[in-house]
């Protein structure tokens, strides 16, 4: 028995095929979801993949957030369905207020693509249980609007509740406050991060490391054992 992991394609989504591949390599059944359909095809979890949905016009993620598929996803996420937002997916999750804060233009104003070291700060979410707390991983990072911001009170709350899931190590590549690379909601089912674990799932491709596979094996174990 395996689990069905859905990956949404919005107009301008780029990393949907990569996320589907990562789900497949982890042993899950990958399912394509379309932005105009409210139907989630009975998936057990959803990945909002990276890219430039709607060209990042208005604000990154701002237009996708109002698509039909998101109506269902928001409803289901609040009911506990695991949702992972990567890069543009993270931006969509903040725009949809499933996660707090917002993403802004990188502080250096350039697109940045690099192999990024991260520290796993929370290994208890639905998407991070195959990691250990404090583990250092390396996955590609590539974004234009990757600077995580939130007000001080929210940041303090995130820290206090252990909801900072990932922090940048060595280099803060975009000016994110408190080096935050990814966060989770209080229930631990909704996780968003800027770096791209789906690009680090095969030894030959990309960084040459498979540090990102854990996201997909974590969720699979959780769903199959559930």
């Amino acid at each position: 028995m395996t689990a069905r992991i859905g990956v949404v394609t919005f107009p301008g989504t780029l990393d949907d095929r990569d996320a589907l591949r990562a789900a497949r390599l982890a042993g899950a059944e990958p399912v394509s979801l379309w932005h105009r359909d409210k139907d989630l095809k009975q998936v057990d979890a959803v990945v909002l993949a990276g890219g430039f949905s709607y060209g990042d016009y208005l604000r990154a993620g701002a237009i996708s957030r109002f698509s039909p598929v998101m109506e269902t996803i928001i409803e289901q996420a609040k009911a506990g369905m695991p949702v992972l937002g990567i890069c543009n997916g993270f931006q969509i999750l903040t725009e949809a207020h499933l996660l707090p804060g917002a993403m802004l233009r990188n502080n250096h104003l350039h697109f940045i693509c690099r192999d990024q070291k991260l520290r796993v700060e929370n290994a208890e979410t639905a998407w991070t249980s195959d990691y250990t707390r404090g583990q250092e991983i390396e996955v590609p990072l590539k974004n234009m609007d990757g600077r995580y911001v939130a007000d001080e009170r929210t940041l303090d709350e995130l820290e206090a509740e252990g909801r900072v899931a990932f922090r940048y190590l060595d280099v803060n590549p975009n000016g994110s406050l408190r080096d935050i690379a990814g966060i989770t909601n209080a229930a631990g089912n909704v996780v968003g991060l800027m770096p791209h674990p789906e690009h680090a799932v095969e030894p030959l491709i990309g960084t040459g490391k498979t540090d990102g596979l854990g996201f997909f094996t974590s969720i699979l174990k959780k769903l199959v054992n559930a």
Binding site: P11, L14, R21, G55, R114, H196, E198
Partner: protein
């Protein structure tokens, strides 16, 4: 009656019909302002048997421009067809949007490099962005899914203020567009030279993959088939851009000649790609063409010309962004992100449905007819009635005079070998640090980190590797590799040899990555063809390239020519950029440049001679350009390539780096920094340290061999007759040349990586 909207001469604004043209044979026409020569205008009148209408004049002028018709270069480009080597891989050759080669397992690969030089000087961001967009649509129009892009770039002096305007804009434009399309950027080059001041070269390449049966061609056949224009709305972008912009040098006294900048919308292009691929998958098109330079004029005339000839278009059906455009302007518009498809009537509904799914506007604007003429109507009145071949494929051909420039002898006599050489280890080390930190040899990570190299999840190698490589089949691990090279300094010293060196270097880079070179595309950047010296450079370079391809067995699949890259009398260095495409059966066997394992043995393959003409050393240390470029031995290149590929396939080497500008020391420093390991080098017998480190002799590579493989590897080189000299070992955290100097990785890294951010960030 002639309704005129007045306004912006010299463009014909009046609503001129075929009927009116026949009745008013003596009307004055602005053929000269549109860039036509007197005899060209006379020929148009002769073809039509009357004066052309405004719309026809617009079409001919733009299609007969240098950029579209290749009128100055055609007679030389012929050689690429005539000297084509025997090669079973070619599926589609020169003349289509892009060439197509067979890479095995039922896959075909199409690739091409194009220039977007002048627009990128005027508006760096949009010029570069639309350059990427254009080449991607070219590849898409062949039926292929675009899988990677590369960008060979040339700028003026690194410390010139205008470079600080042009370069960041170009890089942001390439990134802004390409990243948003989801195409990994896996290679290219960045070169600085004051000869490109005012004439930066922005070349853009793209690779696409398809199955053999999916190859699409740009032709309109089958009377009754519909002509569908789809994609972005048509606006006033770049009207006359191709004709005027690409055919004339810049002249500040004629600002009116500068056309509107074309603005790209990568989001629209991404939708166009996905929509078109879905349309291909359902086999809904009979012919397809992208809209690039010369817009609809080009697409309709080329489609009709390559098909049976007849086509009727109702121009008022074109979806517009600006309702005030005249029919001539609609025909000339270079609005981006548009395609034109020929679709059988029974497929039209499904075609439009797929477009709707992707939020892409699509309109039937006409149909294929059983006649032989391209007929265009505007609100029922005929404004174009031409034989399409005369527009698209039978334009003027010039035999421009060419002559070896007088200064060529003096330049070649100015031997770089006579320049003062470093004395002793300390000076050697000082020059090594200067070299690896010079703008041309320094790390370009600040630039390439602005491009997404990971998207699509198939990137095996990307910059700063010798070649970019992507996997194209996840089951079998089949992959393709590409490298682009073109050393303008070498080509200036000797254009024939320079072009062959560009070919040899790109070939070597692909082989060093472990892939087998299959075919090439080129982007030939030169000055004004009206200057006999430039034309000689062009003639020599094309001859060198054609001869070289014949000898290496790599056919030219297509390419692009950019002329008039000059300011006043001063032309850029002749810059033939060569892109070599290779195939690798299993990407698992690829060879990176990094020296990743301590203890591995370093071997120098090939012969090192005292060759410094056009070298990086002569430029960095002496600001000198003179003498002869390194000699070319293509048989040796071929042998070297075979050894590198065999060694990669059989696991005999763990790293390989080709030697080119900067010589051995540049390659070793790059491989050490990439792997995080140092190297201890010994100067081989018969060489002095300086020549060993800085010579730019061609046909060489440095490889890292695991000790367990040493015997097998040297036996293979010996048996095949390739000189292989053991020069050292991967070890420590410094590059040490025994008895001369030692430079720590830390100081090398500081020198290599600080330069570009220091100049541009």
């Amino acid at each position: 009656m002639l309704p005129s909207s007045g306004g912006r001469p010299p463009y014909p604004r009046a609503f001129d019909t075929v009927k009116h043209a026949s009745e008013t044979p003596d009307s004055e026409q602005p053929w000269k302002e549109l860039g036509l020569k007197e005899d060209e205008y006379a020929r148009i009148r002769e073809i039509l048997g009357r004066r052309p209408t405004g719309a026809e004049l617009a079409m001919y002028s733009v299609m007969w421009s240098e950029h579209c018709s290749y009128k100055s270069s055609k007679v030389h480009l012929k050689q690429f067809g005539e000297k084509t080597p025997e090669n079973d891989a070619m599926l589609v050759g020169i003349g289509e949007n892009a060439g197509v080669v067979d890479v095995g397992q039922g896959y075909a690969v199409t690739f091409k490099v194009e220039s977007h030089n002048h627009p990128s000087y005027i508006e760096p961001y949009q010029g570069a962005a639309t350059g990427v967009g254009g080449i991607v649509r070219d590849i898409l129009a062949m039926g292929a899914r675009p899988v990677a892009v590369v960008d060979p770039l040339r700028f003026g002096a690194a410390d010139h203020p205008d470079t600080k305007r042009v370069l960041p804009g170009v890089v942001a434009g390439i990134g802004g567009y390409g990243n948003c399309l989801g195409l990994p950027n896996i290679g290219g080059e960045v070169v600085f030279d004051s000869c490109y001041q005012g004439n930066p070269l922005v070349n853009a390449g793209c690779i696409g993959v398809m199955k053999h049966e999916d190859i699409h061609l740009a032709k309109a056949s089958g009377p009754g088939n519909k002509v569908i224009l789809y994609g972005a709305r048509t606006g006033g972008d770049g009207i006359g851009g191709v004709s005027v912009l690409a055919s004339e040098t810049f002249d500040d006294t004629k600002p009116t000649k500068r056309p509107a900048v074309q603005v790209g919308d990568p989001f629209q292009e991404k939708l166009l790609i996905e929509c078109t691929l879905e349309i291909f998958q359902e086999k809904l098109v009979a012919g397809i063409q992208d809209l690039g330079g010369a817009g609809l004029s080009c697409a309709t005339s080329e489609l009709a010309s390559a098909g049976t000839g007849g086509m009727r278009v109702d121009l008022e059906k074109v979806h517009l962004r600006d309702a005030t455009l005249s029919p001539e302007e609609i025909l000339m518009s270079e609005s981006q992100e548009r395609m034109c498809a020929i679709v059988e009537p029974q497929h039209v509904d499904r075609f439009l449905e797929i477009c709707e799914k992707w939020d892409v506007i699509a309109v039937v604007i006409g149909e294929v007819t059983d006649g032989e003429r391209l007929e265009i109507f505007w609100h029922g009145e005929q404004i174009v009635d031409v034989p399409p071949r005369t527009v698209a494929h039978e334009g003027p051909v010039y035999h421009r005079p060419f002559a070896r420039p007088e200064w060529q002898d003096a330049l070649q006599a100015d031997d770089a070998g006579k320049l003062p050489r470093p004395q002793g280890g300390a000076e050697l080390k000082d020059q090594v640090l200067k070299l690896v930190g010079s703008p041309n040899q320094a790390s370009k990570a600040w630039i390439t980190d602005q491009y997404d190299r990971f998207v699509q999840g198939n990137t095996v190698l990307a910059q700063p590797e010798d070649a970019g490589m992507v996997r194209i089949d996840e089951e079998t691990n089949l992959g393709v590799a590409m490298a682009t090279d073109g050393n303008g300094r070498y080509a200036k010293l000797d254009p024939y040899t320079g072009a062959q060196l560009a070919l040899a270097e790109a070939y070597r880079n692909v082989a060093a990555s472990g892939a087998k070179p299959l075919a090439i595309s080129d982007c030939l950047n030169f000055g004004s063809p009206e200057d006999p010296a430039v034309m000689w450079q062009f003639a020599e370079a094309t001859r060198g390239l054609a001869d070289g391809c014949l000898q290496l067995g790599t056919p030219v699949t297509g390419g692009n020519v950019s002329l008039y890259n000059q300011t006043g009398e001063v032309a850029i260095h002749p810059t033939p950029v060569v892109a070599v495409l290779g195939v690798i059966d299993d990407v698992d066997r690829r060879t990176p440049i990094a020296f990743a394992e301590e203890g591995q043995l370093l071997y120098l393959l090939g012969d090192t001679k005292e060759e410094f003409g056009g070298s990086a050393w002569s430029e960095v240390i002496h600001q000198h350009l003179g003498g002869m470029p390194p000699a070319v031995d293509l048989d040796r290149e071929k042998l070297l390539g075979e050894i590198l590929i065999s060694a990669s396939r059989d696991g005999m080497i763990d790293a390989a780096h080709d030697l080119s500008d900067g010589g051995l020391v540049q390659a070793v420093v790059e491989s050490c920094l990439r792997g995080g390991n140092g190297a201890r080098l010994v100067v081989p017998d018969g060489l002095d340290a300086f020549t060993f480190l800085f010579s730019e002799s061609a046909g060489r590579a440095v490889v890292a061999v695991p000790r367990s493989e040493e015997l097998r590897f040297t036996d293979m080189c010996g048996a095949r007759g390739l000189p292989a000299t053991r020069i050292g070992v991967v070890d420590g955290d410094a590059v040490e040349v025994q008895g001369e100097f030692s430079a720590s990785l830390e100081e090398l890294r500081a020198a290599h990586e600080a330069t570009i951010p220091g100049l541009l960030a």
